[in-house]
C-alpha cells in the first residue's frame, strides 16, 4: 500500500520538477576503465536494519546480507550456481551417499587471529541442532545421525539416508567455537560485534543508521580491493533512490518503474552501471484444491488459458520479467526448457470450461452450472503492489471468459493466520523464492499439507511424490534432472498453480566500480574482486 502511493507520488514529483530537468548536477565523470587498485568505500542502502550478525539466529535478509561478507560456509555457489568449496577445500561423498567428508582449508584465520579448524564446524553444527537455540535452520541438520571431527582439518557427517539438499546446507555460516562454546549464543556479544573468517571484518554499528565493515588483509582468497563496505539503513526506497542519484549510495536494486522511467538521463547513464537478470523468485496464482470449483483440472487449465501472462509482465513489471511455466528459474540446471503450458487463448478457455460443465451464462454474463454462478475470491497480501495489480489484470481477463473474481487484499499477519493456515481461501496470488537446490519437497509433497506447512493448496499426486523423493535422495545430477524435468511436465499439464512470472533483479552500481561480471548467480558473487581505479576513488 505504502509502496504504491509512494511510487505514484514519485512519478508526480518528477512531473512537477520536469521543467528544471536539464540542470542535472554536473561534475567530473568517473573514468570507464582503469587498473585494479585497493581502496575506496562501497556504500549500499538497505530498507531494513540487520537484527543480529549471528546468522544462525537471524531470519531476515538484511542480517544475512551483511553476515555473508563476514562469515564463510564450507561450500558456496559459484558464478554458475554450482557448488564449490569455500572453507572446505574439497569433499567426498561415499558411494551410498550416506557419508560426507569435508577436507578443510588450512591456514584460514578468524578475524581475531585464531586458526579455523574442524572444531568450529562441529560447534556450528551442534549449536544449530541444540533445542535451546532459537534458530530457523535446524531442519536439514536433523537428518544427520553422526557428526565427527577426526582431525583439525577433516569433518565428517553421516546421514540416515541419502539426502541431496544436505550438501547445500553446509553453506551455512561457520561460527567461531573459541568465542561461543560454553556461552549462551542468544546473549553473545557476537551478535553486535561478529568475528568471522570472511573477506570483511566488522568495524562499527551505529544503530538505525549504518554498519561499517573493513577489509580483511588475511582473507584466504586474498584481500578484497574495496577497503570499506558501508551499509546504510534507509527505510524508504524513494529516499534511497535520491541518495543514489546524489551520490550518497553506490548500489541498490531498483523497481521496474525506477529502472525504466527514471534512469534515462545522460548523467545517470554515465554515472551508473545498470544490470538486469532474472531474480530467483516467481509469482503464481494458486488454487485451493479442496474447493470443488478447482478440483477439475480442466477448470485450472481454462483459467491459465484465459490469463495473458505477457500482459501482466508488461502492465505490472513494465516488461522487466519473463513468463513462468514452472517452479524453476529459466536457464538453471533443473529448468526444463521443453515444457509447454497453456498460453493465452480465451477460446480454448471457454471450450475447456464448457467441457467441465460450465456452459450457460446468466444475465450478467457469468457462467452458471447447476444454478450456481462461477465466482470466487482471489486473495493476496497487503503491501505488495505488484501482486495487487496482477490480481486486477487477472480479474479482468477472467471476466472475459465468464468468471467473476472478487479481489481481496489482506494484511500479512491476518492473511497467514486467518486464510492460508486455515485453508480458508479459493485462490491466492503469492510468490516463492527459488532455492539454488531444486528440491521442492516442502511445497509440493502430499505429506506437507498439514497446518502451517507449505503445500497449503493441498496438492497430492503420487507420481510427483515419488519423483520428489527420488530427486532428493541421489547426488547424481542426471537422475535428479530427470525427476525434476518430469515434475515440470506434470505441473504444466496439471496446473496446480498458474505460474505467472519470474521478475528481473534490477541492480545499479556506481560506475566507478569495475570488475563486475554478470553471471547466472547475479553480480554479487565476486564482490571481493570489484575495484575502483585509483583516479576514480572518492573516499
Amino acid at each position: 500500500m505504502r509502496e504504491r502511493w509512494l511510487s505514484g507520488l514519485i512519478l508526480l514529483l518528477f512531473v512537477a520538477l520536469a521543467s528544471c530537468n536539464k540542470s542535472e548536477r554536473s561534475g567530473p565523470l568517473p573514468p570507464k576503465t582503469g587498473k585494479p587498485a585497493y581502496g575506496d568505500t562501497m556504500v549500499t542502502g538497505s530498507i531494513g536494519e540487520p537484527s543480529t550478525l549471528i546468522p544462525t539466529l537471524a531470519s531476515d535478509s538484511a542480517s544475512h546480507e551483511v553476515a555473508g561478507l563476514i562469515y564463510n560456509g564450507l561450500v558456496r555457489y559459484d558464478r554458475n550456481l554450482q557448488l564449490e568449496g569455500d572453507l572446505a577445500r574439497s569433499w567426498d561423498i561415499s558411494a551410498d551417499g550416506l557419508v560426507m567428508t569435508f577436507h578443510l582449508r588450512r591456514g584460514v584465520k578468524w578475524h581475531d587471529g585464531r586458526d579455523f579448524t574442524s572444531r568450529d564446524v562441529l560447534y556450528s553444527y551442534r549449536v544449530t541442532i541444540d533445542p535451546k537455540t532459537p534458530t530457523a535452520y535446524a531442519e536439514s541438520f536433523k537428518q544427520v545421525i553422526k557428526a565427527e571431527a577426526p582431525d583439525p582439518y577433516t569433518f565428517r557427517v553421516t546421514y540416515a539416508r541419502p539426502y541431496a539438499p544436505a550438501l547445500e546446507s553446509w553453506g551455512m555460516s561457520i561460527l567461531p567455537a573459541h568465542l561461543l562454546e560454553g556461552n549462551d549464543i542468544t546473549r553473545s556479544p557476537l551478535s553486535r560485534h561478529p568475528v568471522g573468517t570472511g573477506p570483511y571484518r566488522f568495524r562499527e554499528w551505529v544503530p538505525g543508521q549504518k554498519l561499517t565493515l573493513e577489509f580483511n588483509p588475511d582473507y584466504y582468497e586474498g584481500r578484497p580491493y574495496i577497503n570499506r563496505y558501508v551499509y546504510r539503513i534507509i527505510p524508504d526506497s524513494s529516499t534511497m533512490f535520491m541518495e543514489l542519484k546524489a551520490g550518497g549510495v553506490d548500489m541498490m536494486g531498483l523497481s521496474p518503474v525506477q529502472y525504466q522511467r527514471e534512469t534515462g538521463s545522460t548523467r545517470f547513464r554515465e554515472g551508473f552501471g545498470k544490470y538486469r537478470y532474472p531474480a530467483s523468485a516467481y509469482t503464481y496464482l494458486g488454487y485451493n484444491l479442496k474447493n470443488p470449483l478447482f478440483s477439475d483440472r480442466r477448470v485450472r487449465q481454462a483459467i491459465t488459458s484465459a490469463i495473458n501472462k505477457d500482459e501482466i509482465i508488461h502492465g505490472v513489471l513494465l516488461g522487466m520479467g519473463q513468463i513462468a511455466h514452472g517452479p524453476y528459474k529459466p536457464g538453471t540446471l533443473a529448468f526444463n526448457p521443453g515444457i509447454k503450458d497453456f498460453d493465452y487463448n480465451p477460446e480454448r478457455a471457454k471450450r475447456l470450461l464448457a467441457e467441465a460443465g460450465w456452459k450457460e451464462k446468466n444475465g450478467a454474463g457469468i457462467l452458471v452450472k447447476d444454478g450456481k454462478p462461477f465466482q470466487f475470491v482471489i486473495i493476496t497480501n497487503q503491501g505488495n503492489a505488484e501482486r495487487a495489480k496482477t490480481l486486477q489484470i487477472i480479474q479482468q481477463r477472467l471476466k472475459d471468459v465468464g468468471i467473476e473474481v472478487k479481489p481481496r487484499i489482506i494484511e500479512w499477519a491476518a492473511f497467514l493466520s486467518q486464510y492460508i493456515d486455515k485453508r480458508n481461501f479459493d485462490a491466492v496470488i503469492m510468490g516463492w523464492t527459488i532455492g539454488q537446490d531444486p528440491d521442492l519437497y516442502d511445497v509440493w509433497h502430499s505429506s506437507k499439507t498439514g497446518p502451517k506447512e507449505l503445500n497449503f493448496i493441498g496438492y497430492s499426486n503420487p507420481e510427483v511424490d515419488r519423483l520428489l523423493e527420488e530427486g532428493r535422495s541421489t547426488f547424481d545430477w542426471r537422475k535428479r534432472r530427470r525427476s525434476y524435468f518430469r515434475i515440470q511436465e506434470i505441473f504444466a499439464e496439471d496446473q496446480p498453480y498458474t505460474f505467472l512470472y519470474v521478475p528481473d533483479a534490477l541492480p545499479v552500481v556506481n560506475s566507478r566500480f569495475q570488475g563486475i561480471e554478470p553471471a547466472p548467480a547475479g553480480i554479487r558473487y565476486n564482490f571481493i574482486r570489484w575495484y575502483a581505479p585509483k583516479e576514480a576513488q572518492i573516499y
Partner: protein, 326 residues
C-alpha cells in the same frame, strides 16, 4: 492543593494498570505472532523449530501468565528482552533512540510555538483582513499537504538538483573524524529539512487555536475598559489580552509531552532518522510484544504526567482553579 495533588497521583496507578492491561490484550489479539512473522512461508522452518522458538519466548504459556510475569518484571523496571532475533534488552533499544527523537521534537516544538503564537495573535488582531486570510491559507496548506510528498519534493530540489543539503540520515559518512563544530554543522544540515517540514505541518493547529482564544479575549469587557483607559493597543494586546489567551495553550503544551517521544513513522522513514516512531512501527509489524509494551508504557506514563503537569500549571496560572472553585 496538596490534597488535590495526592488524589491525582493516586488515581494514576489504577489508570496506568488499566492502560497496560488493555494494550497487552490488544497487541496479543492482533493476528500473527512474533515467531510466525519471522519464519512464515520459509521452507526451511519445521513445525518443531517453530514450537521451540515459541517456548523460547514464553509464548506457549497462557496469556494471563504472560501478562503477570511481564507486570512482575516491570515492577522492578525490567522491560524484558526484545523478541527480535537480536534478543536485546528493550530498554537498550529504546534508550538508543529516545535522544534523537526527543531532541528533534523539542526543537520542532519550540519553533512551532515561537511561530504559531505570534501568527495567531497577528491573525486575531487583523481579523478578516487580507493578511489574516493569507495566513489562514498558508497554515492550512501546511496542514493539508502530505508530509512525505513535500519531503520528497524538497529532498529532490535541495538534495539532488541543487546539492545544498544532505538527503537523509543524521550524519555524513566520515563525520566521526570531523571537529566538534563541523560535526555539529553537519548534523544541523541533516536536520534542517525534517524540522522545517515538521513545523510547517503543525503550525495550523496551534495558530488557529491561538487566534480563536485571542479573539474571544479581546471581546471581553475588561479589554474595552483597558482601551477606554487610553492604553496603547500594544499594551492592551500583550499585557492584558495575551496573558489570558495563553492559558489554554498551556494545556496544549502539556498534551504535547507524550508526543515528544512518539516520533513519526512516515517522517523518520523518509528521512532515514532512527527514531522512536520507526522502532515502534517495526515492533508492531514483527509483533515484538516486549518492545511494543515498553514503548507504550513510557508513552502512557508521559501522557499521565503531561496531563498532571498541565493541570498543575493551569492551577498556578489561573487563581480560580487554585482556590478550589474549579
Amino acid at each position: 492543593m496538596t490534597n488535590y495533588l495526592i488524589k491525582r497521583l493516586l488515581m494514576m496507578f489504577p489508570l496506568f494498570l488499566g492502560i497496560t492491561l488493555i494494550t497487552f490484550t490488544v497487541i496479543h489479539l492482533a493476528p500473527g505472532e512474533p515467531v510466525e512473522m519471522q519464519t512464515a512461508m520459509s521452507p526451511k522452518v519445521s513445525a518443531a523449530a517453530r514450537e521451540r522458538m515459541r517456548t523460547f519466548y514464553g509464548l506457549d504459556k497462557p496469556l494471563h501468565v504472560q501478562y503477570l510475569s511481564w507486570l512482575k518484571r516491570l515492577s522492578v523496571l525490567d522491560f524484558g528482552r526484545s523478541f527480535a532475533p537480536d534478543n536485546r534488552p528493550v530498554i537498550d533499544k529504546i534508550s538508543e533512540r529516545i535522544p534523537i527523537t526527543l531532541s528533534l521534537s523539542i526543537m520542532a516544538l519550540i519553533i512551532e510555538f515561537c511561530l504559531a503564537i505570534p501568527i495567531g495573535i497577528f491573525a486575531a488582531t487583523h481579523q478578516d483582513t487580507a493578511l489574516d486570510k493569507g495566513i489562514t491559507v498558508f497554515v492550512f496548506a501546511g496542514f493539508a499537504v502530505p508530509t512525505f510528498w513535500l519531503a520528497l519534493l524538497l529532498m529532490y530540489l535541495f538534495g539532488v538538483k541543487l546539492a545544498w543539503l544532505p538527503i537523509s540520515g543524521l550524519h555524513s559518512l566520515g563525520s566521526e573524524s570531523f571537529g566538534a563544530i563541523r560535526w555539529f554543522w553537519d548534523m544541523l544540515k541533516h536536520l534542517l529539512l525534517p524540522i522545517i517540514i515538521a513545523t510547517f505541518g503543525s503550525l495550523a493547529g496551534l495558530s488557529r487555536y491561538m487566534r480563536s482564544t485571542m479573539l474571544e479575549v479581546i471581546r471581553q469587557d475588561y479589554i474595552t475598559t483597558a482601551r477606554a483607559k487610553g492604553l496603547t493597543e500594544r499594551s492592551v494586546i500583550f499585557r492584558h489580552a495575551l496573558r489570558n489567551a495563553l492559558l489554554p495553550v498551556i494545556t496544549l503544551l502539556g498534551f504535547s509531552l507524550p508526543g515528544l517521544i512518539g516520533g513519526s513513522v512516515i517522517f523518520e522513514t523518509i528521512f532515514a532518522i532512527p527514531g522512536m516512531g520507526q522502532l515502534f512501527y517495526m515492533g508492531v509489524m514483527s509483533r515484538d510484544y516486549p518492545l511494543v509494551m515498553g514503548i507504550l508504557v513510557i508513552g502512557a506514563l508521559l501522557t499521565l504526567v503531561g496531563n498532571l503537569l498541565a493541570d498543575i500549571s493551569y492551577a498556578f496560572a489561573d487563581p480560580r482553579i487554585r482556590h478550589g472553585k474549579g
